[in-house]
Subunit: 345 residues, 2 copies
């Protein structure tokens, strides 16, 4: 299962806004289409938008004239900048693009044709690496799971959010493979319903038992003793362990703490932003009110002129996090010290 494909120098993506009703692959042909795909969440998930934008950078530049290197590099810069500005919260996007930038400037003395190949090679490398990161997250996270666990997750941090089989869901897939009785609760994740549309879809495809709930039902499940663990992904994690993730994660973390249920964040090293001391400085994307006022861009559910607040992410303070599951190991508190230590590995 894959959410994007790069084949014969062409970039394809599964349009996630159409799931679960339609499985439709589309080709990313231009910079504008790449930008639109990311901005409108046809391609989404912190690690995946990093990988996708890396390939989009190549696709956009591959046919540019090769004669004038200065012009090419200027175009490269501008294109990367535009791709980088599509979504502000997930750090994987700028991380992937800076990585390519570094490689490009390390070969700035070579011909443009070679630089183009450098971009492609790095994009491929980022993709393969992300696949591996998912695998390692699963491996490390598995140690935290018991055979009878009923695990609650929010939004989608699976196949559809990464180049591999996910972060939070990678752990769940590994657990479900090892143990018979793993059960999952998926928050629907308003406003864009990634839980209902995407997480349920991919868990069902992979035959992992899942029950869909509205976000506001999670607390009741916890009170009823039906949730053993919460595992979510992340879009950016600060040096102190504060983790930005899909809106609703924070409410879930508060409830998990109240009910004394372990709350885990699963993310690869590329999601950490050690330049930020705390989560206070993570930019939080505020999105179009229409996302709340209309469901799936169609059904109106509120008065036309009502005022709306629509932050797309929230920050869960490190105090509410039991552990962060990374490709390099499970990080436990004290996070500030242990993040530094483990990420250095």
């Amino acid at each position: 299962m894959k959410a994007i494909k790069f084949k014969n120098k062409r970039l394809f993506y599964l349009d996630q806004t159409l799931l679960p009703l339609k499985e439709e692959w589309k080709e990313c042909l231009t910079l504008a289409s790449a930008v639109k795909a990311v901005k409108t969440l046809k391609v989404r998930g912190a690690p995946l938008i990093g990988v996708f934008s890396a390939y989009a950078l190549y696709v956009t530049l591959k046919d540019k004239p090769e004669k004038d290197k200065t012009v090419f590099l200027k175009t490269f810069e501008k294109t990367a900048e535009i791709l980088n500005s599509t979504r502000p919260t997930a750090v994987n996007l700028s991380w992937a693009l800076s990585r390519i930038r570094e490689k490009v400037y390390a070969r700035a003395d070579r011909p443009v044709a070679v630089i183009k190949q450098t971009i492609l090679r790095e994009a491929r490398f980022i993709e393969k690496e992300d696949e591996q990161l998912c695998f390692r997250i699963a491996e490390k996270g598995l140690a935290l799971i018991d055979g009878q666990d009923r695990i609650l997750t929010h939004c989608n941090a699976g196949f559809l959010a990464t180049a591999g089989n996910g972060t939070a869901l990678a752990v769940i897939y590994a657990a479900a493979e090892k143990y018979k009785n793993i059960r999952v609760y998926a928050d629907e994740t308003r406003p864009l319903l990634q839980g209902a549309r995407l997480t349920c879809w991919e868990l069902m495809k992979n035959r992992v038992p899942v029950t869909l709930i509205c976000d506001n039902m999670a607390a009741v499940l916890m009170a009823e003793g039906k949730v053993d663990k919460v595992i979510v992904g992340a879009d950016r994690i600060a040096a102190n362990g504060d983790a930005a993730n899909k809106i609703g994660t924070y409410s879930l973390a508060v409830n998990a703490a109240y009910h004394k249920i372990p709350f885990y964040v699963a993310a690869p090293f590329s999601t950490f932003d050690l330049s930020l001391v705390s989560g206070k400085n993570i930019p939080i994307e505020e999105r179009d009110p229409e996302e709340i006022k209309k469901i799936m861009g169609r059904s109106e559910i509120s008065p036309r002129r009502v005022k709306v607040y629509n932050p797309a992410f929230d920050v869960t303070p490190y105090k509410l996090i039991s552990a962060i599951i990374t490709d390099k190991g499970v990080i436990k508190p004290p996070f500030k010290k242990n993040i530094k230590k483990i990420l250095k590995k």
Copy 2:
């Protein structure tokens, strides 16, 4: 503003499932249509379904033959039973119907025509009384509100939920009338979106500034210091103060406690069920999975065969409630003692 109307012995209701897109009045002509209106939430809100069912009882019985009293009383019993079984959680429904039953049996020696008038008179009385209860709840609750308050509410406990101007929203209307700067946040209230569809609609009609959010955003607003108070309605309150209300209320209460924000429940005396020691015995209605899987019965948002958990209500334990605003006064902890004391008044 009214959500039901009784005129010339005919019962009309505003179909709340069509709001805010259409304001359509319908007539309740038969028992079947009354049952359907309540079950499908065309008429909803704990106090309102009590009032509506009282009138529906009259409308259903008014043309029944008057010759044989035994037959009439049997029909009365059966009709009341059917109306009473439409929705299990709100106690106001059975409260209203038992009240009529009591009056009917107090006049059981009179002719059927008189008994019919008794039913009508009691239905009218319950309606008028509920209007007054809303007014008194507002009056008592106003003492808890400051002039600059930003109040968060869940579901709809306003004009559309009572015969008057609401319970939680009655307090807000009174506050907005007295103070210029009252601001309201309305949880959209998944799955049936009573907050987005109904609360926003009626607050806007009454020119009270309201901002719509998804349920999972409330915690963020609290963390950002944007919520001064939470006020919600209730469907049934046990003797110890545990309060059943629309699903999502409990999560909100946990979050309010965590952020040290006062959490108020507003309800008339008819919502208390002192026969229940605690909220554990309140029956919680579980509704059709389709309510979650399709928005407004139309837009599909999840895989067709996904398993769903859809409790329509939850119980907030008394420990998370700062005070209960009733028509007889504001009840503060210790609830068990003070509920008994104040309700006796």
